[in-house]
Amino acid sequence: MSLNELITLLEAEIHCGQDKMDSEISHVCAGDLMSDILMFSQPHALLLTGLVNIQVVRTAEMLDIAAVVFIRGKKPSEEMLELARRKGIPLLTTNKTMYLSCGLLYEAGLKDIPLPAVKTELK
């Protein structure tokens, strides 16, 4: 699915990264705990979150996230927009809830990201 199609599906608003709307996404990770999100290492995935702070953009940067969608009408701050523009990460907002957003994306065929097997042999 392209980001353009995602915007139609979630009736999302674009805050920055307009030039990236042709990017294709196939996987989604969702959550408000960035420490949990950092366990996912699938490049070019979509990040769906209700958390709004600069560390969301940092997390997206480290994971090579294709775009971030904030749920329930939450809007990024000016400093988040500035960082996201610098790093080329599109930020979007949907008025839909987390549950509905995830449901719509799942129904549209977007995939879950498998968690890596936890290493135990290292110390």
Binding site: D32, L33, S35, M39, R58, E61, L63, E79, V118
Partner: protein, 147 residues
């Protein structure tokens, strides 16, 4: 910040990290990631190094007064060392458990302190050594092989 010539064989990056500075948190890891991209490591290796660096940097920001994030980049491996003068970790085995966290509520509200940091760093690493003295600080050393 010290940075030597990227065209040389080994590149050493060193960044001071300040406790509780959440606006700057991630800047060091971002620079490390950018340098690895310039050198031309594979995206998978870069992602593992960036995640490990970022988790380690956030640990310093959350738990310590100050620390340093040092990276030695060689053609065959990336070494990350995070050293801080924080409170130290009394029980490292416990701290390595997924879900165990001593982070206060205001850190959790920021999306951190889920108790996944150290396990996630270990997951990204090929070598992982953590040394800590309560009351003195913590030193974490991680190596990621370029393979």
């Amino acid at each position: 910040m010290k940075e030597n010539n990227p065209s040389a064989k080994n590149v050493t990056l060193e960044y001071p990290v300040k406790g509780m500075d959440f606006l700057a948190a991630g800047e060091a890891s971002s620079n490390i990631k950018h340098t690895l991209q310039l050198i031309g490591f594979s995206p998978e290796i870069i992602r593992r190094a960036a995640i490990a660096a970022y988790e380690a940097e956030m640990n310093i920001v959350i738990h310590a007064n100050e620390g340093v994030l040092r990276t030695v980049i060689k053609p065959d491996k990336i070494e990350l060392v995070a050293e801080d003068t924080g409170p130290g970790i009394p029980d490292i085995d416990l701290a390595m458990k997924e879900g165990y966290s001593t982070a206060p509520d205001h850190i959790r509200e920021m999306g951190f302190g889920a108790g996944m940091g150290l396990p996630n760093i270990k997951n990204c690493a090929d070598e992982f050594i953590i040394d800590s003295t309560p009351g003195k600080g913590t030193k974490l050393r991680v190596v990621i092989y370029n393979q």
